[in-house]
Amino acid sequence: MKQKRIYLDNAATTRTDPEVVKAMMPYFTETYAVASSQFSHTPGLEAREGLDEAREIVAGKLNSSPEEIVFTSGGTEANNLALKGTAQAFKGKKDHIICSGVEHNTVLHSCQWLEQEGFKLTILDVNEEGFIDLDQLRECITDHTFLVSIQHGNQEVGTVQPIAAVGEICKENGALFHVDAALSFTQMDLDVNVLNADFITLSAHKIHGPKGVGGLYVRTGTELNKIFHGGYSEFDLRSGTENVAGVVGFGKAVQIAQPDHVENIRSLQKHLMDRLTKDIQHVIVNGPKDIEKRLPGNVNVSFDLVEGESVVLHLDMKGISVITGSACFSRSLEPSYVMMAMGFSHERAHGSIRFTLSRFNTMEEIDYAVESCNEVVEALRMISPLKK
């Protein structure tokens, strides 16, 4: 009998909603023309309509206008475009960029690359719960700062940054503000009329949409150079044939997302965090203790005296998919840089396990996951030379 799979790695990617797949299908086999052929023939026009409809749905969710949404190949490209595109636009005028030490690698590595190219980079510290310090930002930001890039919610420990306050500081200092919202889009409030953000990174596959498509919100009138050259698609900010089926799927995923999904995920998350910390001994919560300050569905804990990769593999044998911040789990053999930035010991990072939930998970799955975790951790502690 095939074992039932309990997928708790939804910050990596999510199950594509069957409704999304259904919405995409006609754009592969019937309406497969390119959207730029809208002036040439009917199929091109139909493709354009599919694209525009999705653009309206995505824009509506952010309370922005459709012309402010640039579709990309995903969150990575959107982050690269926001960072490198503004750097190009400000070349010779302003030269300073700010991000935090727990940003996704796409932001961190792009910023470090810009530093090599001659820009000045400030990486903000985070505290033990993963929060940036707004006072440090106020101290670092200058007239030369063209961009501040701070993520909405953290990919590993779920910390939700005070982005509204960051936006205010950027506004006061004349710097642009980029928010990487790949993991929070549709799950947390993002309103460009309330939030002083100039760029917002979006990703489809984190919210039950297809892989290979995402977007960047670009506030009207914001200076940005394109980084992919070629045709004039996406308001001449991103060359390349539009991924019409992908974009349609993205739009569908956004349309499906409902507030009660988030409420459901929140209750699963609370149940998981409560049970893990009560049922298992010597567990530390990584990231904010206050669940409201975490991304919906993110639970990250460290189990003392055990190494994460062993826990992950044992759980996999029990049909549960999770990940760890342990060095043994990474190709680089370095522990999670997010946890190192939060000032954790190596042991704490090595023993960390991340659970990320989606609306497809159930209470029964969470209970089974906790019970399995308890068994696995106990068994591994039995053979650990560190046990007291």
Partner: protein, 212 residues
């Protein structure tokens, strides 16, 4: 399904052999450190006459390859003479497991090292050394280069936590550049003693903390 691990590795990881603590072992060795993410402790019981390994146990704080190697290397060593056990290496373990990913050598080699050190410790303590090299500063430093500085994840010699040792009449004094009240002072002290004490001509190990 293509995991980086072979079926055999996963079998040993799931149900490791010879695992646990041993009461009154004849020799013990610990390799690695929690700071590196991997640690193995290995216990030996040796027949005094035949010099055959009668019993062997290991404990592991580590990943799958670490646990699997501990399991297979103890399987391979049990019933072997000390001389034969010393010939076991990383390759014998990897072969018996049907291969290990190259990136995991670091984690897997610890169990092999622990076996070697345990055998070596036994030889030191039971007058079995063929060549009796007198313990001097160099010998001590070499042994200490396996003690991990828990703060850095690198050894205490390379991280300059130990820069000076003194050997006189079988008494080894190790100066540690950490304050005595340091949270890891006790761990470091125990590890240093465990590393140096088994040497055949060492009567006593003194660890002195002199850090600010």
């Amino acid at each position: 399904m293509s995991f980086p691990y072979t079926r055999k590795v996963l079998e040993h990881f799931r149900h490791p052999h010879n695992v646990g603590k041993m009461k009154n072992p004849d020799a013990v060795a610990t390799e690695g450190s929690p700071a590196c993410g991997d640690m193995v402790k290995l216990y030996l019981k040796v027949d005094k006459e035949s010099k055959v390994i009668d019993d062997i146990k290991f404990e592991s704080y580590g990943c799958a390859s670490n646990i699997a190697t501990g399991s297979i290397i103890t399987d391979l060593a049990i019933g072997k003479t000390l001389e034969d056990a010393k010939k076991l290496n990383w390759k014998s373990a990897a072969e018996a497991l049907g291969g290990l990913p190259a990136v995991k050598v670091h984690c897997a080699v610890l169990a092999v090292d622990a076996l070697r050190t345990a055998v070596e410790n036994y030889e030191h303590q039971h007058g079995l050394l063929k060549v009796k090299v007198p313990t001097d500063e160099k010998v001590v430093m070499k042994r200490l280069s396996r003690v991990i500085n828990p703060l850095a994840g690198l050894d205490v010699v390379r991280t300059k936590v130990v820069q000076e040792v003194d050997v006189k009449n079988g008494i080894v004094t190790v100066y540690v550049e950490l304050p005595e009240m340091h949270q890891f002072a006790n761990n470091v002290k125990n590890e240093i003693i465990e590393r140096v004490e088994p040497l055949w001509d060492v009567k006593e190990v003194r660890v002195i903390f002199r850090g600010e």
